[in-house]
């Protein structure tokens, strides 16, 4: 039986893992390679490394960090941040990533999704969407506003229609972050996640708001997520992926155990 994935996310700035609350208030949480290895050992089904300042500062993804992190990792490894072209993606794949996540650059030029998919396969392209509910819209959830540059800049795109276009262009997965919930530890935006997941036929990874086991049960059930991302709940020893999955199994969620 297919299992729900628990994905450990490392937000990286200047080669260090950091964690913010609603995209600000950054604090240091360790070395990326060490953290990734620990998460894999402790049962994470996948690792995502996001260079959160790459786009903002126009800096290339830290290939060295990727290489070092990939070296001892034998679970799927996705890298995002600052990937603007198929050539940028190629360097990240050569450094050891299995997937790349694109966000701002894909919104600026949606053909980027087609280009990376053509060269490396759809399974290698994750389109990250940062969205915030729009109370002014007819449907505040489906029409959640899409932001770029780490949540700093509003676009004219809406969550569901952009996810559908990404899929049509050959995205393999959607990584959906609720900006309303990110960093709050008050739970995922299950309505937003379900709206996107039901609109596409590719996996949706829910992100933003994880704080308790019940939040994960909720997003896999009501939120119809195929995978969920967690960062802050792991970094400070609050929980490991394994203990999270053991609790999820008790609640009836299908997860990879033993792991």
């Amino acid at each position: 039986m297919i299992t729900k994935r628990i994905i450990a996310c490392l937000d990286v700035r200047d080669g260090r893992v950091v964690k913010g609350v609603q995209f600000v208030d950054i604090i240091d949480a360790g070395d990326p390679a060490t953290q990734a290895a620990r998460h894999a050992r402790e049962g994470a089904d996948e690792i995502v490394l996001l260079d959160i300042t790459a786009t903002h500062e126009g800096r290339a993804t830290l290939l060295d960090t990727v290489r070092r992190t990939a070296r001892e990792l034998f679970v799927p490894f996705c890298v995002g941040g600052g990937i603007r072209s198929a050539d940028d993606a190629a360097l990240v794949f050569e450094a050891g990533a299995d997937k790349v996540s694109v966000n701002s650059a894909a919104l600026a030029d949606p053909m980027l999704i087609d280009a990376i998919g053509r060269s490396f396969g759809a399974q290698a392209v994750v389109v990250a969407i940062d969205a915030r509910r729009d109370p002014e819209a007819a449907d505040p959830v489906r029409d959640a506003q899409v932001f770029v540059q780490g949540g700093r800049k509003l676009t004219n795109r809406r969550a569901v229609e952009w996810a559908r276009e990404a899929e049509a262009r050959g995205a393999g997965e959607i990584l959906l972050t609720s900006m309303d919930c990110d960093g709050t530890r008050n739970g995922f935006d299950c309505e937003l996640t379900a709206a996107v997941s039901e609109a596409v036929n590719i996996p949706v990874i829910a992100s933003g708001g994880a704080g308790t086991v019940d939040h994960f049960v909720d997003v896999f059930g009501r939120g119809k997520a195929d995978a969920a991302l967690a960062a802050s709940i792991f970094h400070f020893g609050v929980s490991s992926a394994r203990s999270l999955k053991e609790e999820l199994a008790k609640a009836g969620v299908s997860v990879r155990l033993p792991c």
């Binding site: 039986m1 297919i2 299992t3 729900k4 994935r5 894999a40 089904d45 990939a70 070296r71 034998f74 679970v75 799927p76 190629a90 794949f93 050569e94 450094a95 050891g96 299995d98 490396f120 396969g121 759809a122 399974q123 290698a124 393999g172 997965e173 036929n201 590719i202 996996p203 195929d226 995978a227 990879r256 792991c259």
Partner: protein, 203 residues
Amino acid sequence: MRVTVIDYKAGNLTSVLKALRRCGAEAEVTDGDLSLVESAERIVLPGVGHFAATERLDATGLTPAIRAAIARGVPFLGICVGMQWLYAGSSEAPAQPGLGCFAESCARFPDGQEKVPHVGWNSLEVRPNSRLLAGVEPGEYVYFTHSYRAPVTADTAAVTHYIEPFAAAVERGNVMGTQFHPEKSGATGLKILGNFLKWKGTE
């Protein structure tokens, strides 16, 4: 343990090479040097992406070289599209023939309640006496990412369920394949690659 990895320009090989080397293999890559296939001790054909990309194997002359190596008894492992290529073909690219070691064809998962592609960790039901999957316990998980799959037949070494049962691994003589990615399947995947590398080639 020397292993020749075939590069047909369909996705990156970094993860496969890294995992094979981690298992102690001395891995070399060829994207058309037939002498490396002719002298190969073991061959791995990785693969991500589209079945049509296997056309390059025909264009470079790798197809007959691999066919001859298999006939000589060289252990062969196809991964993902590399496994699908062992069949007669795939509805993903009907004009492109596979190697035809297995007579069946690959087809897309039916549309319905579940999403296609099948992405994530799923369990294996290993058939008795599989050499490739020796030591893999019932219910161990491996990582999949694919939309097309091979049918369950007498040559199936492991069955996985998604929408319906399909061949997660195939094995006959020196020819083996996995639909999943052993290089991305943690300790279980490394164990499977180790089995392939250690297999002596004698029945």
